[in-house]
Symmetry: D2
């Protein structure tokens, strides 16, 4: 089923294909009276934008966002906010081969199996280009949770991980890899250059952390904050794993080693926690600690090495993907994952307010 | 926000607390005409039931399910199926301490922060006892996807992993650990005995695999099959990580190493795949390969070792959790994770049928 | 599709058939900390209860409600509230004929056409007995909107209407017809007696009014307060028409005659309105005036006069419905319509709080 | 709460204000492989378009629709279909007065009460201009239910009703009033001319009928076909009443007079019905008879006669609405109501297919 909406009361719906005239998102449920202009959204799109360094795809898109509805005199009105980004650099010719044979690892075969036809130009709806719409929506979501600071970074590219002893949050914006370890960032330049030249690709691990989330957001069952985050993150193109807090490491621990002891905190501010194995979530509800998720991006399936495949009519074929691709999609995944964190938190904040607001007796 | 429903067209809503009179689930959207009696559900509840071996909690519950609506003369009618399980062994006295001080790692503090009050008896709604309702719903879901076979197993308890060279699917039901490696199962007896005697606990890793899923179930964005599974699995109590296919391992690979080549298959049955790094899902849609997810359970936070905590009024306290607990919640998590797999697949099957059924032109 | 849930953030799901062991409702999203016991719900069920006078069906049901979850020490916890009512007087034998031939005007044929089978005992899920579950949920909803007073009454039975010049709200509870006109109530005794003796039935018109609804509840499009009410009211068994404010009368008026002029009101309390043709709703949002809806109940289709019909196998048949039935279902529809008003308003209040709460900048 | 989506599996989300740059709709869940181009949508927009006769508003809009996503090589792909219509004739100056004083009967006051601010240009989001987006979505919906024929007409303008003895369906398109009675159409010319010259307005009654709906679409409770239609129709701007079948007339009848007898029909095609008091719906499910709804439009509140009102700051004011307005909004409501009928039926068809498709055992 096509299901292009996300969120429960703060909801957004995206549309658009890689090579259509435009893509966009309708953001519904935004509170009224919030100052909002294109200038609040554009910087986040710029961070995700392709073609800004030699380490990402060479497709060049201005990714200029236009607000088509939902604001008046520079403020949100509470009605749906329609955001549109025109596609300018589609180069459909690069993709003509895809029409015939399925690219292994891509959605080509699955789409055909489901729908019986597909827009093969650049992957159509399955292209990560759709994530630009999420980043735009995420910029709106951030304005709903001004108390929260969201920071994402690449933790590893392939087997090349950062050293947390050198972690410097302020360095993240200083390199094209969202890398908090300047030494690793320098190493990654060579790694990515080599990968790109070889027509290969690499996976990556990304961390997103949200500080300032108050205790109490989330839900006991099925809209648990961690379940919502898992859905949001796993829904990002190429993501194959999601952890909250210590994630799979916790499975190897004893209860004592995994404990997050509490101590009396400043009056009126909740307890101090001596550790955060849980990633800021207990029983599906935020604890007031930083909310932390770690996600795995697979290497992009578009590589120059021929891979066995089949044609639409079932004959054997070999597929080499030329075109313009990210050697490591995880890098540009950082602003997308940050946006999804913002979108989930904004929704949960409004849901919490609905049920537990202070206006009941 | 309280959000106790899951699913889009095949939906279920659970209710009940650990120490209330009963718990249950309303299953809505089930196709009509399916043979259904308590006997179709009870075996799955029995597999999850506490008190059946010395390796799980000693709480003894019959977990007898009753169908209260939605069937007539032994068949589903298409109307909501209400399933109820009475609680019989609550022993509220065991939990009196929890009223005063928050159990670290449990939802106690987060619930209080959110709701301002909580049912502290056995964790109330945050108790894993709620998962009995999911297992009951999952048994109904299985009847909607008879073409699918779902198998779950424990892959590791703490640092004690199975050896896949000894993998024997038929052995899973022969031991109290859902362990497919008989030698590991014997080892785990000692591991769990020791852990239980020490009043400690251990994490676990669980794998669930579904074979027989046809290509085409899922959705491009936001209701992606992998995103739905991530939400379903992360929503299980104590789960902190979810992987699809190779998961975090894929993040360390190159595109060549992660490729799933295709070759011409039997006519009319889709291609043969030479590998399944993707876990049977591409672009959010099933490929016809086995759908495979791997999940991490943290060690239960209920341990005898005192852990620093605070009281409801903010004073320092130390908490030792006596009561009756699973030394390793991951074990009884297997039937729960299987149920969630069934519930997601049933929903996706009906959604696929809605959009891509054969009755349109 | 079976779709037994209603509401967006304050949601309820009902289950149960006329002749099953029980029926019930799960209420999700209720704010925490609200005092709630069976005593808050039972009076509303008693008002709807069958068998209390000779003017309604002679089926005798205690309709005793039990709270199975969601409260602790007499207060709501924010988790789902499960309410159950056992069926005690089913008399299945009365309904054996229905198995063979479709009762005209009932859902029998439509259910069979949809599902291929049906629980024919007392209409199964299509029985108005299901509305007991809504009344129970509505009693919870009322506690969420204590600022609102909801009053429903029967305006006409068949062609026998009340005279609004004799309207006396305090008389509504003094007769078995929810009639605000004591003289009409006396007349109706004879009307209903005669109808019942003749084995006939009559339609009715019901009005429900909510005072105390503040300005601002509702939504511009698709969850408009009037659209939600229309769905809620039309979804009641036997309802065939819904009006807001002047309804169809407004279609016959000029703009001048239909105007609701405003004048300056008490400071801080919104304008005074000189009329309320709009029924308290403009643009889908409440205006602060009384919210008023008027609904039409058809005569129950169960009559003693034989009506042409067909059997399940397509042969001609004649159907006389004996059994126990309401000569005028609109009467017992009053507490149901009141409950639906409460449920819609509670949902809209929480939705309004979510989007327009005071905790944003 | 802002809630700009409608539908359960076939869903659409509209956006845009009267005087913004554009308005549009995202249609999600459309089956793949359906031939779709702008030419399938434009005729329905043309039927609703303002400025085409002297009997409707003089605002001139081309209402040219553009498909921005969701099709490939002239067919739907199963992904979201984004439709956009640019606003070209906004004339904001006409609306400057509205900024100060609330127009009685309009949503001005309610919006301000809810959101604390509003886009006052032409009513912003509350303008019936939004319905262009629904008409566009409805054109897509019609392609999903090709077996259904939907016909709407104006039954009365003010007190001037058609004579059903002169009913001629083929005449509906021959006059600017969607009037099936040529003699009434001629009379209405004078009625509307006079109303327009007097700066007054009139209400209207509209009927929409769908033939070809098979038995079995709908749901027992809460997504009843009639409840969905009631929500869809009441959500149209200026609608104050909705009837299914005989509606309020049924409330005045006895069970005998309201009966819809059935007789054996053509083999395999369901029974013949001797009457259709029920409007083609029983128990919330279609019966195979024509589905018929009747709706009441209030007179537009924009009139030249001054009406008492208040300013945003609470002072007394008098409001005369100049600008360009429909003297009778019900006329252009016909294509909107038809569109909503199509949208509800398409959704219900897909829902029915999901639950009751033939691919289960």
């Amino acid at each position: 089923m096509s299901w292009n909406s996300f969120g429960r009361v703060f909801r957004f719906t995206t549309w658009g294909e890689s090579h259509g005239p435009a893509l966009g998102v309708v953001v519904d449920g935004c509170p009224p009276g919030i100052a909002l202009s294109e200038g609040d959204i554009q910087p986040f799109l710029d961070a995700r934008r392709p073609g800004t360094s030699r380490f990402t795809t060479q497709r060049r898109e201005a990714d200029e966002v236009r607000i088509l509805s939902g604001t008046f005199e520079g403020r949100t009105t509470g009605t749906p906010i329609s955001l549109m980004i025109e596609n300018t650099d589609q180069r459909s010719k690069d993709y003509s081969d895809i029409a015939k044979a399925y690219r292994p690892g891509h959605a080509d075969y699955a789409y055909d199996a489901k729908y019986g036809l597909r827009d093969y130009r650049g992957g159509g709806r399955s292209s990560a280009r759709e994530t630009a719409a999420r980043v735009a929506a995420g910029a709106v979501a951030r304005l709903i949770v001004p108390e929260v600071t969201i920071t994402g970074w690449v933790e590893a590219i392939g087997t090349h991980a950062i050293d947390y002893d050198r972690f410097d949050g302020s360095a993240i914006g200083d390199n094209p890899f969202f890398c908090p370890d300047p030494q690793a960032a320098r190493e990654w330049e060579g790694v990515i250059d080599e990968t790109r030249k070889a027509g290969s690709s690499l996976g990556a691990t990304v961390v997103v952390e949200a500080t300032g989330v108050p205790a109490g957001w989330g839900a006991p069952v099925y809209a648990k904050l961690d379940a919502e985050l898992a859905s949001a993150m796993m829904g990002i193109n190429a993501v194959k794993g999601v952890e909250i807090g210590d994630g799979f490491d916790a499975a190897r621990l004893s209860g004592e080693a995994n404990a997050d002891p509490m101590r009396p905190g400043v009056a009126g501010e909740g307890p101090d926690f001596a550790a955060n194995h849980a990633g800021g979530i207990a029983g599906g509800i935020s604890t007031g600690q930083p909310v932390r998720t770690r996600i795995a991006f697979k290497p992009t399936s578009s590589i120059l090495t021929p891979v066995d495949s089949v044609t639409r009519t079932g004959e054997a074929a070999q597929v080499r993907t030329k075109g313009r691709h990210d050697p490591c999609v995880g890098i540009r995944g950082v602003p997308v994952a940050e946006a999804m964190m913002a979108l989930v938190l904004a929704d949960q904040k409004l849901l919490h307010r609905a049920q537990c607001g202070r206006d009941e007796a």
